[in-house]
């Protein structure tokens, strides 16, 4: 967490008011439940994961009769979930700050006794809690696997690690999304820029790693987001390097957001 503290444009992190962050987060969380986009995103994620779960179970049962099947685990589900986040997070974050700027309510928030960082962090926390709600709903699948289908139960560490992975990927994407939303007044522009950045981080940034050699290759390898998820957390390995990567992205997103809000004051 040290990197978080040094990167954020707040002189004293202990001065940050959790209460303010919570007030903003709560309003944002409540807002998702009256937002059609949020329902569409939740429905899309839950439906897709449900279908993948059903297919997995189908093959598991078929293979079980042939008695060489693998024990099913939830990594195919979390793997798909991560992919869905690339597409759905931009829709959840696009309006967070851009719409406040468009509607003029940003003026209200910037003249309230609220630090710019608290505003941005609150927006991020609100969206994070919404995704977390969806994540909690999907826990029904590992529970079914664990208590109904698989005896003596699924690999607990793999499950925890995969879910931690999902939560970290979501938190990083959301932080970047909030940051990018702060740069725009138009939410559609924010959506497409956010999506482009995610596509870049998720697919494109890894390519140079396979072309280059030596330490340059390693740098790009490290920047590649999907390897931190698919090749580590979603395979049951929790390593510090991966955690630092995600926490740094969260800090970067909140830093961009806070700086963008501060910059608006000067315009």
């Amino acid at each position: 967490m040290n990197s978080l503290a040094t990167m954020l444009p707040v002189s004293n992190l202990h001065e940050v008011s959790m209460r303010n962050i919570w007030t903003i987060a709560k309003r944002e969380y409540d807002h998702y439940f009256i937002s059609p986009i949020a329902y569409v995103v939740a429905f899309m994620i839950l439906l897709t994961i449900g279908i993948i779960f059903a297919i997995n179970i189908y093959f598991f049962i078929q293979n079980a009769f042939q008695s060489f099947g693998q024990t099913p685990d939830i990594s195919p589900l979390t793997g798909a979930f991560a992919f869905l986040l690339v597409l759905s997070v931009p829709a959840l974050t696009m309006r967070l700050l851009s719409d406040e700027a468009r509607m003029g309510t940003l003026e209200l928030l910037l003249t309230a006794p609220l630090r710019d960082f608290e505003l941005v962090a609150g927006k991020w926390l609100g969206s994070f809690l919404f995704i977390l709600t969806i994540v909690v709903i999907t826990l029904v699948y590992p529970i079914i696997l664990n208590f109904v289908l698989v005896d003596p139960g699924i690999d607990q560490q793999l499950m925890l690690s995969s879910y931690l992975g999902i939560i970290l990927v979501a938190a990083s994407f959301l932080a970047l999304g909030v940051g990018i939303s702060a740069l725009f007044t138009n939410q559609v522009a924010a959506f497409f820029v956010t999506l482009s950045v995610f596509v870049f981080l998720w697919w494109l940034i890894g390519f140079p790693a396979s072309v280059l050699q030596g330490s340059a290759s390693e740098v790009f390898q490290y920047l590649d987001m999907k390897t931190h998820f698919y090749n580590a957390l979603n395979m049951g390995s929790i390593k510090l390097a991966d955690l630092v990567y995600f926490v740094s992205l969260i800090a970067l997103g909140l830093f961009i957001g806070t700086t963008a809000v501060e910059t608006r004051r000067w315009r």
């Binding site: 007030t23 309510t105 003026e107 209200l108 003249t111």
Partner: protein, 311 residues
């Protein structure tokens, strides 16, 4: 309560306000009067802690707006020109949200009290999206009042309201202004005259005049114009008055009254009255006509140099 010293703000190459200096005491309602684009909103945004100035200093309630922005924001209630509301919230939810941001205990009760104060208690659970312009304006005012601020900054508080709502809004502001400092901007002159203790006239980013509405009028008027009314026939009256020394610009109005002017320093009304009575007329009325703030304003904000010289 408010002290502004040499305040300057540039937007890129354009200077929005330049070297503004003024202050406002507790319990004073100060009106900021000027045409659109004069720099009223910019000044108010700086005082509310929304944006920093390019140069100069401003303190509100004893705190510097740049160095101690959060302390200033705790003590200021601000109603921006475009009322910032969340249309997906009810009036009560919205005010509770604002009260929570200001760490007010029992925020729901306070939100309700404040709504009652702006006469919206019965619409507390209605969505703001369905509100009329006047109601939205009142919710905005409630938001600015929710923490009982020492200083209230209102940017065009009566804009877009119907006449009845304007009267109501003005009386609310008057009421609030009894024990708080209120800075309000307007481009409606009678409004400034009616509710403000003091008026600052701003044009092109500079203060061009500052005084009470009454003093502004008398200070700027170089000559005093008087209207006369006599009983019955006023024929020949204007000829008699014209002969009095100091009287100029005599004009007989179609309704039988007579208007004339004299230099502000030398009051010749007693001689005029004597002349009229001795001439056998029954004097009914002799009333000075003040230059309206409209005229003062036009005079002060006139762009060209020739206008300035002639005044």
């Amino acid at each position: 309560m408010i002290q502004v010293n040499g305040l300057t703000k540039d937007y890129g190459a354009r200077r929005a306000i330049s070297d503004l200096t003024f202050d406002a005491e507790q319990g004073e309602i100060v009106g900021f009067l000027g045409p659109n684009g004069a720099g009223k909103t910019t000044t108010m945004r700086i005082l509310s802690g929304y944006m920093p100035p390019t140069d100069g200093t401003a303190t509100v309630a004893g705190y510097d707006v740049v160095e101690e922005s959060l302390e200033v924001r705790k003590r200021v209630g601000y109603l921006p020109e475009t009322v910032p509301l969340y249309s997906d919230m009810t009036a009560l939810e919205y005010l509770k949200f604002m009260a929570d941001l200001r760490h007010i205990p029992n925020s729901r009760e306070r939100a309700y009290e404040t709504l009652e104060r702006v006469n919206l208690g019965d619409r507390a659970d209605s969505y703001i999206g369905n509100f009329s312009k006047g109601m939205r304006q009142r919710v905005g005012l409630a938001q600015a009042l929710i923490h009982r601020p020492e200083v209230l900054i209102l940017d065009e508080p009566t804009i877009g309201l119907d006449p009845a709502q304007v009267v109501e809004m003005r009386s609310v502001i008057r009421e609030i202004g009894k024990d708080r400092t209120v800075l309000l901007s307007t481009h409606i002159l009678p409004e400034a005259q009616q509710i403000c203790d003091r008026v600052l006239i701003i044009n092109k980013g500079s203060i061009v005049a500052e005084d009470t509405p009454e003093n502004l009028q008398s200070r700027l008027v170089g000559s005093q114009r008087v209207v006369l009314r006599v009983r019955g026939d006023s024929d020949g009256l204007s000829a008699k008055i014209t002969k009095i020394k100091g009287v100029r610009d005599v004009e007989s109005k179609p309704d039988g009254s007579v208007e004339f002017e004299f230099a502000a320093g030398q009051d010749i009304r007693p001689q005029v009255a004597k002349t009229i009575v001795q001439g056998g007329y029954d004097l009914l009325e002799m009333r000075p006509i003040g230059m309206s703030l409209e005229e003062i304003f036009l005079e002060l904000t006139r762009d060209n140099a020739s206008g300035k010289q002639s005044s």
